[in-house]
Symmetry: C2
Subunit: 359 residues, 2 copies
């Protein structure tokens, strides 16, 4: 096992070489760390700023051996890391952070909501189903219209559909592939918020100010932070974050999506055991951003300040919206964060901008 | 020749793979660029965050061919780039920025001071010498005590010595290796300041606020920025920077070291045709730092904002001072920038910290 805190010069291993991995590598570099990636795609965004990239499947045993030979700790940029990979790394004495409990909980929407409710982090009502018949029961119990999602996988609105009537439940179940699902009550929320938080190896926690998020077609378009919230709501979010982090004995940054309800209460939509798109504003809005915070946490360093120093509007650049870079480059208040992806497929996250104003 | 502005995805070539190159690579990555380095040392700080590193001498023709095959433009992290390398790149249609005139002027202290005085940027009195006899003449003319420096090479106080009396001039000349020298009058300055400025491909200029610098044994220890100066002095520094930039038909960031004299006037000590240690404060004190500004300029992008958003004290970490990283990591106001160098030799620049306070 590695001794923590890891000194500068150590290598941070990261599973997944997309834009989140790339920004983790940039943050790690600032602190003097090397980074090493495991990523099946060649020429990935992260590979171009990393010391090493092992191009292989996430669960390739030889690749994991190579990763363990270089990295002093391993983290990841996406929650669907195979449990077998984490187990193999652990067996070789390499700690994965956040740990197996956080991953297993985040990978199964039923386990996630069960955990949340058991830890004082309220969610919408939900029910599990694993057949067309139980899907009808679940929808009847929860009440249509409601949302049916696959229990595992799915992101950016994929792997889910609205069920308008109980008699559509069986068809929805089949349309989602006949795999185990969760049925969630519709949340009659007034706003979507999120909170980015972190927990260090010493159990200390640090919580960023809330962001207000705007989605389109299930994909985050825009975040504004710090969001205008009452102190009571900020406290509520901090308490929820603290409960989740301690309940999972968590190490690293977590992104928690919240629904603000009409009565001022917060429900947890879901959490991502990693840096989160709605936390990109911290790059230009806080002294220590979510990427450096995550590296600090997994390396066993003290957490950094989460105080906002500016007001930020974060805008995702999807597909050919990246072509507007000359306009954004000319805006004095705008900071560009482009991912170097070669191919601007429709809806693909190609970069983001942060428009910065004084607080 | 490349078409400017370069789009994200293009590769920026950099000659020199030390910490300045590393920080240029990190800035280039944020804008979606790849970076490719030419650097003779293996495992250089920049190589660990670059897409490609060509490990070869700076003037290796095959290496320069390889660089030209990948890079859309080439820049450098140090001023002693061989003129032959720049000429070979130009012959292959690859532009080097800043250009040959800036390099040639910066590489020869006599050419530099001659250029500065001819362009309305005053310096101390100076004289050239290329023999023991002419060195005696030069010291007699300038008046001892004065500073004798090699005309070429030398940095961080190396390649120079004080001459206390005219009769020490010949010995000093020999001690400096018997190479051509410059003799400079002692500057009776009250403060050392510097100004970081940039010029884009469109001729636009942008000037950062002044920094106040403190050296020890010829090495920068500490910069404080924005320095407290009168508006008149800030204007004077801006005018000097503008004259130098236009006189050199410059593209990129320049670091200009200044002496503040008792009468409030500014003399130019020297300029570096590159990003500069005394500009590291901009990483945490300005929206667009000197590294991104340099990449913007050489890529033909519009220059970014140089407005200070915070007060910064920059401290270089030399040699084993890097071992104090746990203390700095725990300071909420401190941002770490560590270079990942393997070996903490005495006096070696291993990293720096920026202590940030509200303006």
């Amino acid at each position: 096992m590695s001794d923590f805190p890891l000194p500068p010069g150590a290598a941070i291993g990261v599973i997944g070489g997309g834009q989140l991995g790339r920004m983790l590598a940039l943050a790690a570099s600032r602190l003097g760390f090397d980074s090493v990636f495991l990523e099946p795609e060649p020429d990935s965004p992260a590979s171009r700023v990393a010391r090493h990239t092992i191009v292989a499947a996430y669960d390739d045993p030889e690749a994991l051996k190579a990763l363990a030979a270089i990295a002093s700790v391993v983290t990841f940029e996406f929650e669907n890391v195979p449990a077998s990979a984490v187990a193999q790394l652990a067996a070789m004495g390499i700690e994965v952070a956040p740990g197996p409990l956080a991953l297993a909980t985040a990978q199964d929407r039923v386990a996630e909501k069960t955990f949340l409710n058991a830890n004082g982090a309220p969610t919408v009502a939900f029910a599990a189903a694993d057949s067309a018949e139980t899907a009808v029961d679940a929808v009847t119990r929860i009440g249509a219209p409601c949302l049916m999602k696959t229990r595992r996988e799915g992101y950016d609105g994929k792997g889910q559909r609205w069920v308008e009537h109980a008699h559509d439940a069986a068809a929805a179940f089949e349309a989602l592939g006949g795999v185990p699902v969760i049925v969630e009550a519709a949340a009659d929320f007034v706003r979507e918020l999120s909170v980015i938080a972190a927990r260090g190896r010493d159990g200390a926690t640090a919580v960023y100010p809330l962001a207000e998020n705007h989605h389109e077609h299930g994909i985050l378009r825009r975040s504004v932070a710090p969001a205008r919230v009452t102190p009571a709501m900020a406290d509520q979010a901090e308490r929820i974050a603290a409960r989740i982090l301690s309940g999972l004995d968590y190490v690293g940054v977590i992104g928690i999506e919240l629904f603000e309800m009409a009565d001022g209460s917060l429900l947890v939509n879901e959490f991502a055991p990693r840096v989160h798109n709605s936390g990109h504003w911290t790059q230009d809005g806080c002294g220590v951003d979510q990427f450096e915070q995550h590296i600090r946490a997994v390396a066993g360093w003290p957490l950094g300040s989460t105080t906002a120093v500016a007001q930020v509007e974060m805008l995702n650049l999807l597909g050919d919206e990246i072509d507007a870079w000359p306009r954004y480059a000319a805006e004095p208040e705008t900071r560009l964060h482009l991912y170097g992806k070669r191919d601007a497929k429709p809806g693909r996250k190609m970069g983001h901008i942060n428009r910065v104003r004084p607080l």
